[in-house]
């Protein structure tokens, strides 16, 4: 009778830290060369940045002291960070955006509690939050708060508002566009195809210019849209086309059987879409939609070109302050940090959802 040979451990050179280093960095010989070259490159690039950002940097609030250091003056960020967050929003009213943010986070947090999901009051809360946030930030009217017009909005707040509003507004439009493009209606289909292809073929900046200079011409002269609303309209127009293409992908990703089963039950077009097709299709396209949102978030930085002061443009506004004149590098580092954290976090979220949501229709 054969006896089982007991498991042994592999030779020491192939496992553990040593084996890992050997395999991944040193063997064969050109790999070692490559490692050395890469390490040199990293050191060469990282060292000046480290020196600037940490070694030679100061956090003093006194610009005169900061001038004596060769590195970054983080005191500038320390003093100016509320401006980066809200732009020229009046300082004494800054608690209002903060309150709005807290409210949104609280509702989002409640949604994360599994037990509460699907509760009616939570849905109602979600529907009322945007109105509350708008009322809270803008004030005026029945709220009794002093009114802060949209031309005072700016910074990260404006960036987030623009992208969230664009996403929320673009969603229904894009569902209609996607349905139109996949249907065989005589007028709607060519119109949807033309709209989607036109918008996807041109740069966002031309759409923004259109929204800011051409759109007012189309509207009755007594209706005056302000700059922020026009930018929102432009971004919404732009992204509804991209979103529509994603949703179309979801609609086409469903198996024919789903359509046929719904038809077999005698459902009409709208019932079929509302009850059977869209719930499944929209579920599949959640991860690409998150990626789309990342795109919106990055591209809202273009509104600076048509005169809004978003997170990116705050850099110019704050560094033209004579006290901290020309501290662009610090400003851009701070802004880049925010964009990067938001976008990277969202893309991690999209990857997580991609793993969790099984592709339906199988």
């Amino acid at each position: 009778m054969a006896v089982d040979i007991p498991d042994r451990l592999p030779p020491a050179t192939s496992v553990g830290v040593l084996g890992w280093v050997r395999r991944n960095l040193l063997c064969p010989w050109y790999n070692a060369l490559l490692s050395a070259a890469t390490a040199f490159l990293i050191a060469k690039a990282a060292a000046p940045f480290w020196n600037w950002a940490v070694t030679n940097a100061t956090i003093t609030l006194d610009p005169a002291v900061a001038k004596r250091h060769t590195g970054a003056a983080w005191g500038f960020i320390r003093e100016m960070w509320p401006v980066f967050m809200t732009g020229i929003y009046p300082a004494e009213e800054r608690w209002r955006p903060l309150l709005a943010l807290c409210a949104v986070l609280a509702v989002a947090g409640l949604t994360c509690v599994r037990r509460l999901r699907g509760a009616g009051w939570l849905r109602a809360l979600w529907l009322t939050t945007p109105v509350l946030v708008f009322a809270c930030i803008r004030g005026g009217g029945i709220t009794g708060l002093p009114e802060v017009g949209t031309h005072y909005w700016g910074g990260l707040m404006l960036t987030l508002l623009l992208s969230v509003v664009a996403m929320v507004a673009a969603f229904p439009v894009s569902v209609l566009l996607a349905l139109g493009r996949t249907s065989d209606m005589p007028v709607a289909r060519p119109f949807c195809v033309a709209y989607i292809e036109l918008v996807r073929g041109v740069p966002l900046i031309t759409i923004l210019f259109m929204a800011s200079v051409v759109l007012p011409l189309f509207l009755p002269s007594d209706l005056d849209l302000d700059k922020v609303l026009r930018a929102m309209a432009g971004i919404t127009m732009f992204f509804s086309a991209y979103l529509a293409e994603n949703i179309r992908g979801g609609l086409q990703g469903l198996s024919r059987g789903q359509y046929e089963a719904a038809d077999a039950l005698g459902m009409g077009y709208w019932t079929k879409m509302r009850v059977v097709i869209l719930p499944q299709a929209l579920r599949i396209v959640i991860p690409p939609m998150v990626n789309n949102f990342i795109g919106i978030l990055k591209d809202t930085s273009l509104v600076g070109i048509v005169g809004l002061v978003d997170l990116l443009q705050v850099a110019f506004a704050t560094t033209s302050n004579p006290k901290w004149f020309g501290r662009l590098a610090e400003a851009y580092t701070f802004i880049a940090f925010w964009y990067w954290v938001l976008c990277y976090g969202l893309s991690g979220c999209s990857r997580y959802l991609e793993r969790r949501i099984p592709s339906a229709g199988k």
Partner: protein
């Protein structure tokens, strides 16, 4: 629904007419003929074909048609390499003839350079040429850089792989406009001034006014020299073809290195001797407050090209990596089991399959380069959109300018997607 739609369109039209009237703006494209009057920082010459250019087009069409006939005649059916004489005839007809005609009528192509007294139309065309210049460089650069980063990520070296991964993560999660601002305001503005320029022996001068390189100035021998180089390249192509044919027929490749090198070095050298120095180098020299002569790349141009290249290269790297990884392990193993070496595995098995996955998203990245080059307006490079913006501000013809923008970009994107569809149809895998 349709009725509501029509009513909306009609009311928009009415509003527009009324608004235009109250603002005193005329409509129509007539304004394009009026004098521009503003300065454009970077002017690209526009080749404007005149009457003789027609002959070139005619000869090109005729040459292509004739060579096709010849090819049909000599190698009936598809496939089968052309015999040497037929090939020479085809080359002469389709390449040589049009080139000769172009040379004969070379004075018929007029180079128009924008000046302040030029029309809006020329200004827009100059902007478009600038856009194309940036886009071409951006596409090429981002592909090369993306390929390198993708190879780095695929390498078994952990350190290099991690570096490349973070390169990608950093670049694609930051807005491109932020990156352009970084290159323009931080890197290029941070360079030393003119007096303390970084100077590599006159060959490369870098300061905060831009990048200066020596320029090639053509002399009398230039035409002959260029012809010789073109002929040498054709010759090398013929040599490689012959070598390949011999390899397929006898299993041993024909001579490649020696005849190739002789052609490549010998012909241009002969042309040099016969026609005299073909080009002279014009070095940039410090005159007064700035460098004169040579080829100067403005900081705006440099920042735009570098910024776009770096931004898009992160996306391209991911596309290329995903494409190469999409080829299954089994394919690689099958090729290795046939004793192919790693180069052959890549060339014969992996790349042809990966290209099908890579090319479609890569073309949409190229389209993104063209579209993103419009961010030039943010750093003041006179591209198509930014020149258009200036005209819009001056003339107030908003509807027309936006219409021109959209039309031109739509044409470009339709051209690119048309090319891609043709390519896709050609390479689609045959399945049951």
């Amino acid at each position: 629904m349709l009725g509501g739609f029509l009513w909306l369109a009609a009311s928009m039209y009415r509003n527009t007419l009324e608004n235009l009237r109250t603002r005193g703006i005329g409509s129509g494209f007539g304004f394009l003929r009026s004098e521009a009057g503003f300065r454009i920082g970077e002017v690209t010459g526009l080749p404007l074909p005149q009457g003789g250019f027609l002959y070139f087009l005619l000869s090109l069409a005729a040459g292509l048609l004739l060579s096709r006939l010849v090819a049909r005649r000599l190698a009936p059916g598809r496939g089968g390499p052309l015999p040497g004489k037929g090939l020479a005839a085809c080359l002469a007809l389709s390449v040589g003839l049009p080139l000769l005609v172009l040379y004969a009528f070379r004075h018929s192509v007029e180079i128009v350079r924008y000046s302040e007294s030029s029309s809006y139309l020329v200004a827009l065309a100059t902007g478009l040429a600038n856009t194309f210049k940036v886009a071409a460089l951006g596409c090429a650069g981002s592909t090369v850089l993306g390929l390198l980063v993708a190879l780095g990520r695929l390498s078994p070296n952990w350190l290099l792989g991690t570096l490349c991964r973070w390169y990608v993560e950093l670049n694609r999660n930051l807005p491109v406009l932020l990156q352009l601002f970084f290159w323009y305001f931080i890197v290029l503005r941070g360079l030393p001034g003119v007096a303390q320029s970084i100077d590599l022996g006159g060959w490369l001068v870098l300061n905060n006014r831009g990048l200066f390189l020596p320029a090639l100035v053509p002399r009398e021998g230039a035409w002959l020299f260029c012809g010789a180089v073109a002929a040498a390249l054709c010759g090398v192509w013929v040599v490689l073809r012959r070598s390949r044919r011999m390899w397929e027929e006898t299993g041993r490749p024909g001579r490649r290195a020696l005849p190739g090198a002789l052609l490549l070095l010998g012909l241009p050298a002969l042309a040099w001797l016969a026609g005299g120095t073909p080009f002279s180098l014009d070095f940039p020299v410090l005159q007064g407050f700035n460098y004169k002569g040579g080829t100067g790349l403005t900081p705006e141009f440099t920042a735009l090209v570098v910024g776009l290249t770096v931004y898009i290269s992160a996306f391209n790297a991911e596309i290329i990596r995903a494409g190469i990884e999409s080829v299954s392990r089994g394919q690689r193993e099958a090729a290795r089991a046939l004793a192919m070496n790693e180069r052959q595995v890549m060339r014969v098995v992996i790349l042809p399959q990966a290209m099908r996955v890579i090319v479609p998203p890569l073309t949409s990245e190229y389209l993104a380069v063209v579209k993103n080059s419009s961010l030039a307006v943010g750093i003041g490079y006179p591209d198509f959109v930014s020149v258009g913006g200036t005209i819009l501000n001056q003339s107030g013809q908003a509807v027309e300018i936006v219409g021109i923008w959209m039309g031109v970009f739509l044409c470009i994107s339709l051209c690119i997607s048309f090319c891609m569809n043709v390519y896709n149809a050609r390479i689609a895998l045959v399945e049951r």
